[in-house]
Amino acid sequence: MEIVCVGEIFNGDVSGSTYEALYLGNQIKMENGGKLTLILAGKDPEQFSKKLSIKGLDNLILLSNPSLEIYDNESYSSSISNEIKEISPDVIIVPYTSQGMDLAPSIAHLLGFPIITYCESIKFSRKGWLATRVIYGGKLREEVEVEGNKVLITIRPGDFPPLREEAQTNIIKKNVSISRGRIKPIEIIKPALEDIDITKFDVLVSVGRGIGSKENLEIAEELAKMLNGAVSCSRPIVDMGWLPKTRQVGSSAKTVKPKVYITLGISGATNHINGMKNSNTIISINKDPFAPIFEISHYGIVADINDLLPLLLEELKK
C-alpha cells in the first residue's frame, strides 16, 4: 500500500501535526505493508531534511520554490498533487489545520480522490475505506464509508502522538515551477505579545460559553488569583470579545499542560480538549451532564455556574 502524508511548515518550523500524520501513516503501513512518503512544500524545505529523517518514513519529498513562502491554495495544491500523482497512493493523510482545511479539498479534487475530513481513525476493509468521525461537538460518532480503494483523509491535531524517532530516510529534493493562480498571498501577521503566557501557569481557570455573564468572569478571575493561576478560555469567549485571543486554549490556539485545569461552563469541543487533555488534574463544572468535557475530567461537577461559583469562592476564602 502506498501511503502519502502532506506535511506543513508553520511559523518557520515543521508543524506538530505533520508528525502526527506520520504516526497514523506508519500505523497504516504496519497493518497493511507498503511505503510511507511525506511531501513537504515551501520556500526552503531542505532545512528540515534531518529533522524529518524519521523511522518508518521511507521517502521524504521536498518541493521548493520561492513562491511557496506563504501558503496559497492554488500553488500548493497544484504542486503537491502533481507530485502525488507520480506515487499513485492508496491513502493520503493531511492534518486538519488551518492550512489542511483549505488545501486538502483542492488536492482531492485535482486527484479525483474522495475526501473524508476530521477523521478520528481509518481502516481499510474489503468494501473500501471506513473512517470514524467525531461529530455534534463530541456527543456522537459516525462511521463513514467510501467506495473504492483510494481516499484522502484529514486528521485532527492532537489525536495522534508524534512519530519522531530519527533514522535514515530517502530524501528527494525538487525545484518545482509555480504559475500563480487567482489567489495572491500577501503576508503573515504575527500576534503582538502583550498579554500573559497561559502556558507558563501551574493553575488555569478556564471559562467557556456556560460562564453566562461578565460578573462570573470576574469571579473566575478572583478564583484564579486566589490559586496563583490565570484565566484562560475556549473560543466563544474570545468571539464575544470578553478575553483576548492570547487566552484561548485549543489545538488551533494554545496547547497547555498545567498541574490543575479547572473548567467553568466549557462543553468540550475536540479542538479545546486536544489543547488541554494532558493537564495533570482536570476539574470541570458544567450543568449539562452529557458534556463531552466530563469524559476527560478527573472530577466532574454537574452544576449551574451561576449558583455554584459564588458559593465556591466563599468556601475557598474560608
Binding site: N11, G138, F294
Partner: protein, 259 residues
C-alpha cells in the same frame, strides 16, 4: 455586492437519540437553528450590503421534516437584513457535502452573484467541505477561515485565521467563495417586532428534484453507522444542591492545587 449566504439548520443537542436505522439522528424532539459560524457569515454579508449596497440572499438545503424551524431561520435572516430566502427541500434521503455541493452548484450557476459566504464549520457534522467542493464545482477561487473581508480595487483583501494567533493576508478576486470563522463580527439580534414583520414575507421553496434527479446518487461519504460513544464520564462525578457541593468542590481544589 450581490452576496449569497449558505445557512445550515443545526440542532441544539443535549442527550442524543439515534433512530432505529442506526444511521440517523432522531430529530423529532430537536429544535434547529442557524449553524453558529453561518450566523457570522450572514452578519458579514449584511454589513457589506449596508456599506457597499447590493443584495443578500440566504440559501439553505434542509429536510422538509424540519420545515418550521427552517422557516424561522429564514425569517430571522430577513429580520436581520437579508433580502431573499431560498429553501431547497428534500426528504427521505441522507445528503453528504458532495451531494449538497452538486445540488447547490446546479442551482447557483444560473444566478448572478459576487460572493458566496458560509460558516467555516458546522456544529453537527463538522466536515468543513461544502464551500470548498462547491467552489471546485463552480470553478471559483475559495479560501477558508476568513476573519476579515475588505474590497481593495477589483479584488477582496481577506484575512485568514491560522493557529496560535497568526493570520494570513491574501487577495482573492470575485466571484469567489469564502468560509467565515466565528468572531469576524458581532451578529445582531433583531428586535422581536422585526421578526414578527418578517414572517409575512415569502420564502422561495425549491424541491430538490427540480434541480437534480435522485440526489442520493451524488453521495460519496456514506454514513454506515451513527452511535453515542461509550461514556466513561468523569472519574469522579459530583452532583447535588449547590450549597451541598460547594464545600466538596472547594476541598478538591485545595487538595490538588500546588501551594
Amino acid at each position: 455586492m450581490e452576496i449569497i449566504v449558505l445557512i445550515k439548520a443545526t440542532p441544539v443537542l443535549e442527550e442524543a437519540k439515534i433512530s432505529e436505522d442506526g444511521k440517523s439522528l432522531d430529530t423529532s424532539e430537536l429544535k434547529f437553528f442557524i449553524n453558529e459560524t453561518d450566523t457570522y457569515a450572514l452578519e458579514e454579508a449584511i454589513l457589506k450590503k449596508e456599506k457597499y449596497g447590493g443584495k443578500v440572499t440566504v440559501v439553505t438545503i434542509a429536510d422538509s421534516s424540519i420545515e418550521n424551524d427552517v422557516n424561522e431561520m429564514i425569517w430571522e435572516s430577513y429580520a436581520k437584513g437579508a433580502d431573499d430566502g431560498i429553501f431547497i427541500e428534500y426528504s427521505n434521503v441522507y445528503l453528504d457535502p458532495y451531494a449538497k455541493a452538486k445540488i447547490l452548484s446546479d442551482f447557483l450557476k444560473e444566478l448572478k452573484f459576487d460572493l458566496i459566504l458560509l460558516g467555516a464549520q458546522s456544529t453537527d457534522t463538522s466536515y468543513s467541505l461544502l464551500g470548498q467542493l462547491l467552489a471546485k464545482s463552480l470553478d471559483l477561487p475559495y479560501t477558508t477561515l476568513v476573519s476579515s473581508i475588505e474590497p481593495s480595487g477589483n479584488v477582496l483583501r481577506v484575512v485568514r485565521e491560522l493557529e496560535e494567533g497568526l493570520q494570513e493576508v491574501l487577495e482573492i478576486p470575485t466571484p469567489s467563495i469564502l468560509t467565515i470563522q466565528s468572531g469576524i463580527n458581532t451578529p445582531r439580534y433583531p428586535p422581536f417586532v422585526k421578526i414578527r414583520n418578517a414572517k409575512t414575507r415569502p420564502i422561495k421553496k425549491v424541491p430538490v428534484e427540480s434541480i437534480v434527479n435522485d440526489p442520493g446518487q451524488y453521495v460519496k461519504l456514506k454514513r454506515v453507522r451513527l452511535y453515542i460513544p461509550p461514556s466513561k464520564g468523569a472519574a469522579n462525578i459530583i452532583k447535588g444542591e449547590p450549597e451541598e457541593i460547594a464545600p466538596k468542590v472547594a476541598e478538591i481544589i485545595k487538595s490538588v492545587v500546588p501551594r
